[in-house]
Symmetry: C2
Subunit: 288 residues, 2 copies
């Protein structure tokens, strides 16, 4: 793993950096990228070996832009990471909960901590993102100010946690994709992400799911989205259990390709196992 470069979308201390750490451990070089597109380009252009990008969140839904970029680029989904979004109230040494007059964070993080913030009664100020708020507080070192950000942001910017898990809803998970130019060999517990299109006619989706149902292949996700340039077609984002090299999966994909107007396999990758967190997800470290 040493020497590998991992691009992530966001800045130092962002949740996506936590996801990259959870997946690869801390022996890789993590490279922050401002946009999703820049993260894709970094891997495509060889500036990074992997990219970690958010793909869906239980409260906010799928990241449509990420799926669009997957269609535009030739990268493979090499792995997944699922993390619970945990928000903490951070401040500088010497600060107390009672002394906090102002809280800085991203509007979405603030929204997700409404109940805590109402009980705190401090003024809230919007920032670009949770990490930027932490970074700025570390610079100004004002004990009357706290930020809502991740545990990782506290570590990076030398802040302490005044109150942990201040989010209203603990059912807030984000799923990330790890992208690479390489394909991943089967591990025995894999998922495969595909995108396919159908004409917009009754039963079209039903017929496209038949090859999977017949072979008792389980789906773990399905989502429709209108195709940008073709108003009467739909793209479906589907995750299935199994690897493209499993004969039953490759047969089902063959059958699908005869029924759909378009099929693209984004990649096969090991299902996320939280117990592996921080240990580099096995194969990833050995170069896949």
């Amino acid at each position: 793993m040493r020497g590998r470069r991992v691009a992530f979308q966001g800045e130092r201390g962002a949740f996506t950096e936590e996801a990259a750490l959870a997946y690869f451990g801390d022996s890789v070089e993590l490279v922050p990228m401002r946009t999703l597109r820049e993260a894709f380009s970094a891997v495509e252009g060889g500036g990074a070996d992997y990219a970690v990008i958010p793909i869906e969140n239980t409260l906010a839904g799928s990241v449509g832009e990420a799926y669009d970029l997957l269609l535009e680029h030739e990268l493979r989904v090499y792995g997944e990471v699922i993390l619970r979004v945990e928000h903490h109230l951070l401040s500088v040494e010497g600060a107390t909960l009672e002394g906090i007059r102002e809280v800085w964070s991203h509007p979405q993080a603030i929204d997700q901590c409404r109940r805590f913030l109402e009980s705190l009664g401090a003024n809230v100020v919007p920032m670009w993102n949770t990490a930027a708020a932490a970074k700025r507080l570390a610079e100004v070192r004002d004990a009357r100010v706290a930020v809502i950000a991740s545990r990782r942001a506290a570590e990076i910017y030398g802040l302490r946690i005044l109150a942990s898990n201040v989010e209203d809803d603990s059912n807030n998970y984000t799923r990330f994709f790890v992208l690479s130019k390489e394909s991943r060999p089967p591990t025995g517990d894999d998922l495969t992400s595909i995108i396919f299109s159908t004409r917009h006619e009754p039963g079209a989706l039903y017929r496209c799911l038949e090859p999977f149902a017949e072979r008792r292949i389980n789906l773990t996700k399905i989502e429709s989205r209108p195709v940008r340039s073709r108003p009467w077609e739909y793209n479906f984002y589907v995750d299935i259990v199994g690897h493209v090299r499993d004969p039953v999966v490759s047969e089902a994909l063959d059958a699908l390709s005869r029924r759909a107007t378009f099929v693209r396999v984004l990649g096969s990758y090991p299902r996320w196992r939280p117990r592996d967190a921080g240990r580099g997800q096995g194969g990833a470290g050995q170069g896949g």
Copy 2:
């Protein structure tokens, strides 16, 4: 329509207010609500007759929280509105594009106007939302500052449009639901939104779609989401073409209810027809 109260999530000048205006015209009383939950409660408690809430966006995906609230509450989906998200650069009288040194807006709006902002070269400052940025600029009246917000925000806060449609991607649509306690009678061009659950086993979704495919009922949306409290079950959000009072639709829903572990019809409502914009979508004005 006069005397009707319509709650919307957001503040004056927010996109959701534009959606409410596009649906109901300007003869209703529009009532801003800070959160989605407050918009639901306003209708449930009788403080408003309708609520308008965002349900999905082409770039950002479905609003998971809105679907959760639909399951928690007994409100009906009474209508839909689909609007293209258009961002404009607004400033005060006398301001010029060349003189702008700072741009205020919500981080997501800023993200969606990256290319324009890079060419402008001004400093960008995050705000709670686009309408709040417009409101504050109207107060301070600084011609070196512009905001990115909606046309409606320009009207409400007396700002002028310095540059229109500054968004990078014109394929940015938001779909809104209009909620009510009442059901909507058939119009001949209706959609029906349902949520159903299945056990997580191969072919479960396929079997649940069969009743629709057999009856040639078209789907316009499908999305899976894990059920909060039951780890091995999935909820599916599905929109079908037709009204629950159409015999073929009600037969299909009966058949579905024998295959799914849970079915809930959120409502049947006329498909959005942009030409009706501002004319109250027919039936809505006559009390449904």
